[in-house]
Amino acid sequence: MPIKPSFIIHTGDITHLSKSAEFDDADKVFSETGVPIHWVPGEHDIIDEERGKAYLERYGKGSKGAGWYSYDDHGIHFIGLVNVVDLKGGGLGNLGAEQLAWLEADLKDRSNSTPIVVFAHIPLQVIYKEWGWGTEDGMQALNLLKRFGSVTVLNGHIHQLAQKVEGNMTFHTALSTAFPQPAPGSAPSPGPMLVPADKLRTLLGLSTVSVVQGNKPLAIIDKTLAG
């Protein structure tokens, strides 16, 4: 890495089949970056025999439930949500009542001026229902975030870029480093997209967030002396 970021957010699907060897390989690759990493699980990371135990043993320290948590960095409140467990037939991704109650409590005493970044594996908003690209109770989470002046919503799962701005909320997905997936409805299924080998690297990638000098007003963050 030419410039080391403050940290990496991994939006899930660390592995293909939740196997120990796969987690080991991923850990080895990521440890080479020397950068702290914040994880949330994808559906591929919780299909071990005990359905998520392997993930939680490695990455669940300090998290609640199936692995959700929040932390503060650079004056920003970051929230990692898990929407890949206890999915219901015919439905979409799912946060569940326990996680939503936790989120409500987590946000309760935060001022509206606190910048929020929330990330989960499956999109919290519905991008394409027919392929399950959305979260059943995602709107309940987004409603809890509406009062904040700056909310950034990140997700993985769909292996392609999509962006949307809605009021104070900005939605961003990221490219995958594994394989590309087709645009919604453009193929019979969301399965891996076969592309010519020389095109592959144009469809894989990373997203970085940098401070770029612009003409927009800066965010004012209020903080009491109590912290």
Partner: protein, 130 residues
């Protein structure tokens, strides 16, 4: 401030890919031999596969299957992506099925069993046991 958002899975993907390649090379002659017997085997396939549900393109086929009490139904995953078979009331739940893995369940009582993929719940199917 700089944050990097990523989905680094390339190491594991590369391993899976290499394994697939090795298997293809080693079993090249065996596949050839199987193809030679393909015509003979196909004769039995229609009766043998009556209680088999295949997964292709994130879809269960047939979507509805009617069987008699005591029948063993087999699900086979042909996708490059793992799937699981979960009955709505969790009467049965498979492990993760990788490409070409299968799962079988014997229905010992009559009823309608709705199931879905635990990873991609928009994939749904039904087994009716009479």
């Amino acid at each position: 401030m700089q944050i990097l958002i990523s989905q680094l899975r390339f190491a594991t993907t590369r391993l899976v890919f290499n394994r697939g390649l090795a298997v293809a090379l080693v079993f090249g002659p065996v596949v050839g031999a199987m193809l030679a017997f393909g015509a003979v085997a196909a004769q039995d396939a229609t009766t043998k596969d009556a209680n088999e549900i295949t997964i292709d393109n994130f879809t269960f086929t047939p979507k509805e299957l009617t069987v008699a009490v005591g029948t063993t139904v087999k699900w086979v995953n042909h996708d490059d992506i793992p799937h699981t078979i979960v009955e709505k009331k969790t009467t049965f739940r498979s492990k993760a099925l990788d490409t070409d893995d299968s799962y079988s369940f014997t229905f010992t009582s009559a009823g309608t069993f709705d199931y879905f993929c635990g990873l991609h719940p928009h994939m749904v199917g039904q087994v009716i046991v009479k």
